[in-house]
Symmetry: C2
Subunit: 349 residues, 2 copies
């Protein structure tokens, strides 16, 4: 699928939000990172939903694209590479090696159109990387089977815990062991809200902070009602517990209706109130729950603050392993995508 | 190197201590574990230093070997597969696909004879797995280069943090990111001693417990003087920070001379006294230190109790990732070896 040997990996990016721009920042100057010395990616298109598109078969100048975005908040017709195309048309018509899905999650649309974007790329025999959780939560098996049939890669490392390689850990690291249960704190906004309430602040303060710092979901209800946690749990369960679990089937509690004094009262007893996601095998299937839990002070879950996240993997043979991501910035989210690009580049000769 | 396709992987085990017997327990009845359904290993020899050896080219009956050990604490000449051989002779003369080094660490002998065992297997073009840290701490580059030259596997997942796949995590999971620093709590005996002193017990109590439960090193001085931590740090640094660091070059503090009241005094201030290993890049080289540190109560290092262990991986691009192993039993140590056997089996067609 790649052109001449040694030719760059041609990537099509869909979406240019916080994550997309952070990926572009890394790809614009990979020489800043020791381990990216061998990375040779030409971004042949960046297509957004309603903020314009840039296309260049020889590869875009990403620094210029980032400058234009900083100036105008969109790609304007004055740019020589400006193009009129929809994401789905670009997926179907442009010539690329790997499609990178970076659009925001559309929870009410059950992961569409991101699922259609991934399917479109895989059907053409192109690799697909998604930073959008929708394709895992609602269509993992179909897309994995399609990728296997076309012998291309379908990668998604950044969807849960950003730069922490949870899927790689389970795939390469836990060979022969069987995961029986996963549990985690996976949503930043609710974690910040609980910490703010504990300290005597208001929910509105915390939501404002989450939006200003760019980690809140587009629709705050998706965070506060536990939907973002449920979607991440569905993604984890579908991949790691090997049975489909749709977000709508996750038993779900959020922060709506929470007594604002409760987090401080729990803390005063030496515990912490946390929104915990859990999924476990149940016969041939899997069950999931997102719920407020009083976590004892000596559990590492009690120490997870702000944008940090944590995941406990319980196995039959490798014991219990806990992974914590400490205070990630947006570059760490971008890293998950870049590591998938490196995996695709290593796969092709 | 394997015989007929579908033939079992023929393994030679050196050592039959706690870890060796736990590996044999798993291999004797792999059908107890869902993920080991495809594992087909024939152990063609078990050779100990001074407790006898069993050899059978068709594969030993491991349940019978374990029974004999439980009864006699050694392999006796009455066993039909009893053999007279040294470990090094077995490495050089027997026919096997993979050698598994399970002998205790000989710190004063700078990792020998385990290094010679691994070298001997690799020189014959056989795969080598080591649960002994010596070959990594004193001879990693030589052995890795030898394995690469002979196109065989050299694996060592269980040497640090037992069943937690720290080396696989760095190898497959942190592609493109550069590790700049590792820090951890990696020795159970000293961690149990510090917890016992905190609670008002004596060092002798704690050491007795560690020996009874089987996690103390053969020579308690190797634990208490910080040598076991230094050897693990040297292993981690040599593999993950890509520069040799010998245990003797690690700045080293242990528990000898510790004021027995100090752990409780530190705890009363809301912190914990822990023996922390750290290694970091320093120019083209790497430096290491094992030292008592007062860890703040909100650091996950403060929650590591007893035989649990923790490792923080600090990177340039993937942020800081913390991995905790919670209360492992000996089976988890065995799992690290079994996962390496599965990796070898997956490598050979």
């Amino acid at each position: 699928m790649r052109g001449a040997p040694g030719a760059p990996l041609r990537a099509l990016l869909l979406g240019f939000g916080n994550v997309g721009r952070a990926v572009a920042e890394v790809l614009a100057r990979p020489e800043r990172y020791l381990g990216l010395a061998g990375l040779d990616v030409a971004v042949i298109g960046v297509v957004t939903g309603s903020h314009g598109a840039l296309v260049s078969p020889r590869g875009l100048d990403l620094s210029r694209a980032l400058d234009e975005w900083r100036g105008h908040g969109r790609f304007t017709p004055g740019h020589p590479d400006h193009a009129r195309t929809t994401a789905l048309d670009a997926v179907r018509a442009l010539d690329y090696d790997v499609m990178v899905e970076l659009t925001p999650l559309a929870r009410r649309a059950r992961g569409e159109p991101a699922i259609a974007h991934v399917r479109g790329a895989l059907e053409r025999g192109r690799h697909a990387i998604t930073a959008n959780k929708g394709p895992l939560a609602w269509a993992f098996r179909e897309l994995r089977d399609l990728a296997d049939a076309r012998e291309v890669a379908f990668l998604y490392e950044t969807t849960v815990m950003d730069g922490v390689p949870v899927f790689n850990l389970a795939r390469h690291g836990l060979r022969g062991a069987t995961l029986t249960r996963v549990e985690g704190i996976l949503n930043s906004t609710t974690n910040v809200v609980l910490g703010t309430l504990e300290a005597g602040g208001t929910m509105a303060d915390a939501i404002t902070r989450a939006q200003r710092e760019g980690f809140a979901e587009a629709d705050p209800a998706d965070d506060l009602e536990g939907w973002d946690s449920a979607v991440k749990l569905a993604a984890l369960a579908s991949v790691l517990l090997e049975a489909p679990l749709e977000p709508e089937a996750v038993e779900r509690e959020g922060l709506i209706g929470l007594d604002h004094a409760r987090p401080a009262a729990v803390r005063a007893r030496g515990a912490r109130l946390k929104l915990v996601c859990e999924a476990w095998r149940d016969g041939a299937g899997v069950r999931g729950r997102v719920a407020l839990r009083e976590v004892p002070g000596d559990d590492p879950f009690a120490l997870v603050e702000g944008t940090s996240s944590i995941l406990r993997l319980v196995t039959d043979l490798a014991g219990a392993i806990v992974v914590t991501e400490e205070h990630p910035d947006i570059r760490v989210t971008a890293y998950g995508v870049v590591s998938d690009l490196l995996a695709v580049a290593a796969r092709d000769p």
